[in-house]
């Protein structure tokens, strides 16, 4: 944190960021953040639902390799497909990002369910967590730490996907902004933008993920 602040201060103090259009940059960064937030929310709902249903069904072992192959399809290879269906729109960027964020969440949960201690599974069965109630009273709470770690990895990939798609499709947001900036040679603007994104990542991590992680690691520890 201190590092980011110091670097930012240095830039500002030395007047090197004077030429940056702050309003445009801020709008671009917020647009990207908004796309990522929406994509993450969708991916979370989708990933958690699919993983819990598959983990609950008897087909986990059979479906695991299928998901593994799907996950290994490089997501940027699919971007023409998304552009074909959705054009150069917000939906395209968001859905494309969903397609990359969903995998780490899905896999983290499925792995947690697969690796759950057999005795814990047995206890859930013996004490009546069967049928669909097994999902809400056993599999979902069991998956909580995995949902956290999957989300953290997923969001990291999400930044890449959203910004990458914005660069490729020139579809607004921070990606398009740095593309323009580098084309017109204003690299300071790109650097300022990166600092802004680092700041967002840092704040979200500190305020959201770090407290949740420490909570889950202490409670779920053996």
């Amino acid at each position: 944190m201190a590092g980011i602040v110091v670097v930012a201060m240095l830039f500002i103090v030395s007047g090197r960021l004077g030429s940056v259009e702050w309003a445009t940059l801020l709008k671009a960064v917020l647009h990207t953040t908004y796309r990522l937030a929406l994509a993450y929310s969708l991916a979370l709902v989708l990933g958690v639902s699919i993983a819990l249903l598959v983990g609950w069904s008897p087909f986990t072992d059979a479906l695991f390799p299928v998901f593994d192959i799907l996950q290994n399809v490089p997501s940027f290879a699919l971007i023409p497909l998304f552009i074909y269906f959705f054009g150069y729109t917000d939906q395209m960027i968001i859905l494309f990002a969903v397609s990359s964020i969903v995998w780490p969440i899905l896999f983290a949960i499925l792995t947690a369910i697969k690796n759950a201690h057999r005795d814990l599974n047995d206890a859930a069965s013996i004490f009546g967590a069967n049928g669909l109630r097994r999902i809400s009273f056993y599999l979902a709470p069991l998956s909580f730490p995995a949902i956290l770690t999957g989300s953290i990895v997923g969001i990291a990939m999400g930044w890449e996907s959203v910004i990458g798609a914005e660069i490729i499709a020139n579809a607004g947001g921070f990606g398009a902004f740095i593309k323009d900036a580098s084309v017109s040679g204003i690299s300071h603007a790109a650097i300022a933008g990166m600092l802004a994104i680092l700041l967002i990542v840092f704040v979200v991590n500190r305020l959201v993920w770090a407290p949740l992680l420490s909570e889950s690691s202490s409670r779920y520890a053996e």
Binding site: D119, D122, A123, S125, I126, F127, N130, Y138, L142
Partner: protein, 249 residues
């Protein structure tokens, strides 16, 4: 104690079970297991590791299929206590104990009342808001026992409940368990590896041998209760069982 000698809780007749190991070859875990457990009896199962004792418990509970033979289950509310406690880490002690009742849709107030009562019975009512990670091994096992008692089980299966506990904790829990058994009169099936424990607690001791898991001997312990664990008769039983165990391990 509801101990009608004609009533049985469980009958196994020539039960075998195969399960797949990592290379998916079938491994015969249990072979030709036959025994019956009288209603309200305390039965211990001892034997070397690999004798399929835990597998047998899972087969009895229907958590794992058996490949041949017949199981007659004359119980309706089985509960289990695990060697490594198997408490739900996301629930407090009270919520863990109330879990079975919650699954039976018992209203919150009622199930918390019962859960508190059971926690009190195992001496942990002051720790009801603690999560399992804040409890010691002995306390966790007591929560596990209370969780089992909360559903008023007619069959209580215990898989090496004392093996992760130090001697003093285990002795205290054993005394409480005997008291609970006298009060409730449920059938208890306990996997154990300590012969003196088995002799002290049980009406019958089933000795298993390994690879494949078979019954070597089924011994009745007819010493009067409460048992004097320093009497000559007690040592005789322990001696005899020790000899049998040596011959299978």
């Amino acid at each position: 104690m509801p101990n009608d000698p004609s009533a049985v809780a469980l009958v196994l007749s020539r039960v075998s079970a195969i399960f797949a190991d990592e290379e998916a070859r079938g491994v015969l875990a249990l072979e030709d297991i036959s025994f019956s457990v009288p209603s309200g009896a305390f039965v211990s199962i001892i034997g070397p590791s690999g004798a399929g004792k835990s597998t047998l418990m899972r087969v009895i509970l229907g958590l794992m299929p058996h490949t041949s033979g017949t199981i007659i289950r004359k119980f309706s509310r089985p509960a289990m206590v695990f060697q490594n406690y198997a408490l739900f880490p996301w629930l407090t002690a009270l919520e863990n104990v109330a879990f079975g009742l919650r699954m039976k849709r018992v209203p919150r107030r009622e199930r918390e009342r019962i859960a508190r009562e059971k926690l009190k019975e195992v001496g942990l009512d002051h720790l009801e808001k603690h999560y399992p990670n804040a409890l010691s091994g002995g306390q966790r096992q007591r929560v596990g026992l209370a969780r089992a008692l909360a559903i008023s089980p007619d069959l209580l299966i215990m898989d090496e409940p004392f093996s992760n506990l130090d001697t003093i904790t285990a002795e205290a829990l054993k005394a409480d368990l005997l008291k609970i058994w006298r009060t409730y009169g449920m059938t208890i099936l306990m996997v154990n590896h300590l012969i003196p424990d088995a002799v002290e607690l049980s009406d019958h001791v089933i000795i298993m041998k390994a690879r494949p898991g078979r019954i070597k001997e089924n011994v009745s312990i007819d010493l009067p209760r409460p048992r004097d664990i320093r009497s000559a008769a007690f040592f005789d039983r322990v001696d005899a069982l020790t000899t049998t165990i040596r011959s299978v391990s």
